[in-house]
């Protein structure tokens, strides 16, 4: 499947991209993160500590165990600091 990935704040800065489309067979968010980490050191750096990374699947907050079947957009970002 094709997924639109989005990166925000320091995740974006470490990866060096605001987002990208990827072709993947990852079953869960955790599988997707493993695939990305294996690509290049900048991904490995961005995803080094997943306790510090939040994930949204199709604009809803999810976690590493979330299945990706049917998903279109996955976003990675640090804990939110609005308000």
């Amino acid at each position: 499947m094709t997924l639109d990935l989005l990166y925000f704040a320091w995740v974006r800065e470490r990866i060096g991209l605001p987002g990208e489309a990827v072709e993947t067979a990852a079953a869960t968010v955790a599988d997707l993160v493993d695939e990305l980490r294996a690509r290049e050191p900048r991904y490995a750096l961005a995803f080094a500590d997943m306790a510090a990374v939040r994930v949204a699947v199709d604009q809803e907050l999810r976690d590493l165990r979330t299945p990706l079947q049917g998903a279109r957009e996955v976003a990675f970002f640090p804990p939110m600091t609005g308000g």
Partner: protein, 149 residues
């Protein structure tokens, strides 16, 4: 029952006046405004990044949750993004109810949820350099208190 995400500033007084205009059933109106602190003059830049496709959706969900928990006659969330200067307004929430306890609780709930669940990230530039603001552990604690309600 309104949510706005915008780069432009807002007029707090106008918003609060509009919220209660033409109504005579509101007894209590609570507002919270978040402002950019200059940190004793150390702050030189401030930028708010957000996730446009998700932001409004998240804020609408937070507001809807508040509506189910308290009898609110009106509520409002406005959150800005982009570059902001020291002293500028970042965001506001308002909650109107018949009685003060509900209005206060709803406004605090909106703030606690928004802090940890709405996709905004603050980047500060100070005399020590630029850095993304860390989420505070106290924000998660603040959020947890609403689970036992």
């Amino acid at each position: 029952m309104a949510v706005r995400v915008q780069a432009a500033d807002f007029d707090l007084g106008t918003e609060l006046t509009l919220l209660r205009s033409g109504r005579t059933d509101i007894g209590a109106l609570v507002s919270f405004t978040g402002l950019v602190r200059d940190q004793d003059g150390r702050l030189t830049g401030f930028e708010l990044e957000h996730y446009p496709a998700m932001t409004e959706k998240a804020l609408v969900a937070i507001e809807a949750e508040a509506q189910t928990r308290w009898p609110l006659q009106a509520s409002l969330i406005i959150h800005r993004f982009g570059p902001l200067a020291a002293g500028e307004q970042i965001m506001m929430v308002a909650a109107a109810s018949s009685h003060r306890a509900a209005a206060f609780a709803a406004a605090e709930f909106l703030m606690d949820y928004l802090k940890s669940r709405a996709p905004f990230w603050k980047k500060e530039t100070t005399t020590a350099g630029a850095a993304w603001v860390d989420a505070r552990e106290t924000d998660e604690i603040a959020l947890a208190r609403w689970s036992s309600c």
